[in-house]
Every structure is written in structure tokens, then in C-alpha cells.
Point group: C2
Chain length 118, copies 2
DNA sequence: CCAATTGTTCAATAACTTTTGAACTAAGGA
DNA sequence: TCCTTAGTTCAAAAGTTATTGAACAATTGG
């Protein structure tokens, strides 16, 4: 691990809610949840925002304790901090993700282009 | 009812999350949840913010579909839109309220003064 | 070494949000 | 009617967040 992350007990509810209250970040979290266990790099999210802007949003998610970013080579491998979030705020992440699933108005990864197969 | 409220299906997840991602509004929702069924007027929340500022935050909650405000005489009776929120985003409100309960760092109604008995 | 890839940082700007006080409306009671 | 109570509206100021492009690292492959 490389970049600063809050510990589980430093994760703050209003900050997590505010961070998730942005459609771009919600789309990132939703995609991470759909690929849980698979660490993704930033380029997966390039159809949501510019590279610079993604860097900003991913930093917000990391600083809030929603995601973990690990530097591997020139990439950042990004994962959801599900264990920590579930411990701190039981049920919250699941209900947010379930609600986001049902919302077709929300931006989503892989919506603007042809799906690139693994 | 008097003031504009979104219908249940107009309630938007990112807007609800953003609205709840403010400590003052989270305290309002938490208090409403703790007194569920009892309509409260704005003055209950005066230890959280000024009258003008409360008016602003209560409008945000109403416009997001989190609360309902009914004009009765010169008062506004404010209630949580639990049914609509539970229908739209099952489990979300409960997990947010449960998480807020456990957070002693959050502002709360009736924390700065002697409790006024009913 | 050189070039490409991956992502960050910085400064600027644009766009919102929050907070404030003063002025206001509307209802209710004396 | 006049005063009080309850809350809103408005405009201004302050603060915060989001978005952009240009410049910068750091790693990897040729």
C-alpha cells in the first residue's frame, strides 16, 4: 500500500455519504462492487470522466475510506473496502449498491461504448 | 400539504446521499427517526443551527424527498418519509440511522441543553 | 537510452453550497 | 387591532467542490 488511507474507525458516516452522493463516484463504487475481488485500475473508469478528474474522484473515495488504492508498477489497483465499511456501517454499502442498481438514470461504467471482453 | 415535494419515484439516490452527507441534516433525520410518528416543528432543531439556516436545511431535506413538511397554522409539521424511502431504497434509511446512532462525534438534537420534558 | 503508459500534481476557474442578517408574510391570541 | 410566534425569502459573503489543461513523475518495454 502506498497512499494515505483512513483506518476503519476513522471512517466517518457523513463523509462517506457525501462522497457517495456524487453520480460519478457512485458509478465507480457500483462497478467495483460488481467486480468484487478483482482489483481494477483507473483506466476502467475513463468513460466516466477525464483522467485528471478521475484521479480527483478516486482520491476522494480513498480519503473517505470507501476504496483502497495500491500502487503496483505504474498502475493503481483499486478495491472496495467492503469489510471495513460493513463493520463500521452494517448494511449501508449493500443498500446503496442495490439502490444504484435499480437506477437507470445513473452513469455507469461500460455504458457509452462496446463492452471490451476480458 | 403545501410546499413542493418530489413524488416517491422522483426521489434520487445521489441527491438523498448528498443531502444526508451533512452533519446538521443527519442530526435532523436522526431525531425525526427517534420520534417517528410524532410530527415535529422546526423549533425542535434550533440547537443545531440558526432559524434561517434551519429553513435552508429543512428545504433541502424536503426537496430531496427525505422529509415531508405540512403547514399547520404558523408551524410546519415535519415527518420522515420512511415509507417512500424504504420502497425506493430498501434498508438505506435504517442503516444510515443505525450508523448515525453509533457516532458520538455527530451533532444531535438535545445535546447542548437540558432536556425539555414533553 | 528512448518512448509509451499510467497516473499525479498544480493552478486556475467555474459552479455549487452554506451561512448570515434584515426584511418579510401569515396565523393566532389579547 | 396590535403584538407575538413561526417560519420564509432575499441578497451578500464565505467556503467548498468539481473540472480543466499543462507539466510532471515513475515504471516498463523495445
Amino acid at each position: 500500500m502506498s497512499l494515505p488511507h483512513p483506518t476503519a474507525d476513522q471512517i466517518s458516516l457523513p463523509i462517506v455519504l457525501a462522497v457517495l452522493g456524487d453520480p460519478t463516484r457512485l458509478a465507480i463504487v457500483r462497478y467495483l462492487a460488481s467486480k468484487e475481488g478483482v482489483p481494477l485500475n483507473c483506466s476502467k473508469f475513463l468513460d466516466l470522466a477525464s483522467k485528471t478528474n478521475l484521479s480527483y474522484h478516486l482520491a476522494k473515495l480513498r480519503e473517505a475510506g470507501v476504496t483502497r488504492s495500491e500502487a503496483v508498477g505504474t498502475s493503481r489497483l483499486i478495491t472496495l473496502r467492503r469489510d471495513d465499511l460493513d463493520k463500521r456501517f452494517p448494511g449501508l454499502l449493500d443498500s446503496v449498491i442495490a439502490a444504484a442498481e435499480g437506477d437507470t438514470a445513473l452513469p455507469a461504467v461500460g455504458t457509452s461504448e462496446v463492452e471490451v471482453s476480458a
